[in-house]
């Protein structure tokens, strides 16, 4: 989990840093301005990245989610 968690940094890099370099309209990508296409790509990638993190996270493998909060320890806390 610890290594996979690092993936969560990518949306920040893509959206905040990537936009600095891709702040342009042309050439249109799939008919869209470059910056808009780039951000839409990151919307989809963010979802995919969170899915990978979710699957790798041991906290989501416990079948019962109604456990007593005191015994339910989150490894990330």
């Amino acid at each position: 989990m610890s290594m996979i968690k690092v993936l969560a940094v990518l949306p920040f890099l893509g959206i905040l840093v990537g936009s600095v370099f891709l702040n342009q309209v042309t050439p249109l990508v799939l008919g869209l301005p470059v910056l808009l296409a780039w951000l839409l790509l990151w919307v989809v990638l963010t979802s995919a990245i969170m899915a990978v993190i979710y699957l790798a996270d041991p906290a989501n493998r416990t079948p019962s989610t109604h456990t007593d909060p005191a015994t339910h320890t989150d490894p990330d806390a």
Binding site: F12, L16, S19, V25, T26, L35, W42, V43
Partner: protein, 486 residues
């Protein structure tokens, strides 16, 4: 009455009936009315949270900003994504703590974590102050829809009163259950309408997406990217970051965390919620389609762009369907906002100052405050003058001031003292208030800075001062008692 207005009125009536049905047969305790008895699963929490996020702001504000400002509108796509990434780790511990201590509101959380009822009252005040512009923008949207759909028969001011009346009636009959059920209807309708408009308008009016964007680029070079000055890349990055941090600091978003049945709900939603953002792209397309077709709207009137273009393009009955979607996008979040503000006033400000009031009495007082909150927002709405996006950004600057104290409260050993946090939030809020009232920007405060720094969102200044204050005051506070005990 025009066909458009009739369809809109029927929709509002339908929402009221749904709300009435949802609340029937339930004894609505304070916990029921506000957090739905803490029994909502992933789908319901998702709808409740999405219901709050896809508001008039997205529908009219997003399209209007795309029309009036172009590229800078893309910030709305960015901040949601980053907020959902953060939510994966931030929301579960908040939920667990709230469940353990049976908390029902955001101020309860801060008061409990920092063992300071005074901090709870302050957080409630911050929440209410931030919610007012948010409510104003919903009323503004409702006013635009009703006035436009009446084809001039209803003046905008009367339309605002009608919209506020419907939202007030709605929240008084239904509470949080009504919100969740209407959210289902609303999401289906807004999804269909936004996708249809976003696809149909560019193809019908320009012959395709590429053709539309090429035409806009030709007429207004660079309009579809960030400008070199003003709403530049620096503005974009700082605004995305600030609003992402503030995303779950809204009292109503924070409150919807408590409605979840388990903490897994949030981790699942962190996967799905970003995809939901894709609707925004279609809203932008519709706004961009208006750029060359309804030219000339400036200032606060840019919010009218989507509706003006629809009226030019479609029959009145279809304008009514778009209006109905718009009414629901204002009704659901509007009711959540009013309910939250009224509950904050009753439970987190009035109650601590008046000894031990029983729940039943607090809940009755909250309901009675609903019309009062609505009246205040109507007053500000009729003052006018700001775009929908500007109103929301102001609210965001306020709520983001709660973020540092919240994040630190999740640590096992929190070095911050309640006095430090209190002082930090006060300094942050005062800075936001001062800069918003005087319309100050960083460029005005520090004209000598390079362009990249001059364009930073002014909210950054408030947040930096906030963090500096809470660190400093906490450090002093910790040293004093330890020196005494030594």
């Amino acid at each position: 009455m025009s066909a458009a207005l009739a369809i809109i009125a029927l929709t509002a009536l339908g929402a009221l009936l749904l709300g009435l049905r949802a609340s029937r047969g339930r004894d609505m305790s304070l916990e029921q009315w506000t957090v739905g008895g803490r029994g909502f699963g992933a789908v319901f929490v998702f709808l409740l949270m999405a219901g709050e996020i896809y508001t008039t702001f997205t529908f009219l504000g997003g399209s209007g900003y795309a029309y009036g400002h172009g590229g800078p509108t893309y910030y709305i796509l960015g901040y949601g994504c980053l907020a959902y990434v953060i939510s994966y780790w931030m929301l579960p511990p908040i939920w667990r703590y709230a469940r353990q201590h049976r908390l029902i509101s955001q101020p309860d959380y801060f008061a409990a974590k920092y063992a300071s009822p005074a901090l709870g009252v302050l957080v409630a005040v911050v929440g209410i102050v931030a919610l007012i512009p948010y409510l104003v923008l919903q009323f503004k949207g409702l006013g635009i829809i009703v006035a436009t759909a009446s084809y001039g028969a209803i003046p905008p001011a009367v339309a605002v009163w009608i919209g506020a009346g419907v939202v007030t009636a709605y929240v008084m009959v239904s509470g949080v259950h009504g919100s969740a059920w209407t959210a289902v209807a609303k999401d289906v309708l807004i999804l269909a309408v936004a996708v249809f408009l976003g696809v149909f308008l560019p193809i019908h009016l320009y012959g395709g997406f590429g053709a539309m964007f090429a035409a806009i680029q030709e007429a207004k070079p660079g309009f579809l990217a960030l400008p070199p000055k003003g709403e530049s890349v620096a503005w974009f990055d700082s605004t995305v970051l600030l609003t992402a941090l503030g995303f779950y600091m809204w009292p109503h978003s924070f409150g919807s965390i408590f409605t979840a049945r388990s903490d897994k709900v949030f981790r699942q939603n962190a996967i799905v919620m970003p995809l939901y953002q894709l609707i925004l792209a279609f809203v932008f397309f519709a706004g961009f389609a208006a750029v060359l077709k309804v030219p000339g709207l400036t200032g606060p009137s840019i919010d009218l762009a989507l509706f003006r273009l629809s009226m030019q393009t479609f029959d009145p009955w279809f304008v009514g369907v778009i209006g109905a979607a718009g009414v629901l996008t204002a009704l659901v979040p509007g009711s959540m906002i009013i309910m939250t503000a009224a509950t904050l006033l009753a439970n987190n400000i009035y109650r601590p100052l008046h000894g031990n009031m029983p729940d039943r009495q607090v809940s009755r007082l909250a309901r009675r405050l609903v019309p009062a909150v609505a009246l205040v927002a109507v007053f500000f709405t009729l003052q006018g003058g700001q775009t929908i996006v500007a109103l929301l950004l102001m609210g965001y600057s306020f709520v983001t001031q709660l973020f540092p104290a919240l994040v630190m409260s999740l640590r096992r050993h929190n070095p911050l003292t309640s006095t430090g946090v209190f002082a930090g939030i006060v300094v942050g809020i005062a800075t936001v208030a001062a800069t918003s009232l005087t319309h100050t920007t960083i460029a005005m405060l520090f004209p000598g800075l390079p362009e990249a720094l001059r364009d930073l969102n002014i909210g950054i200044v408030a947040l930096v001062l906030n963090v500096a204050t809470l660190t400093l005051v906490s450090a002093i506070g910790r040293r004093v008692p330890s020196a005494r005990s030594a």
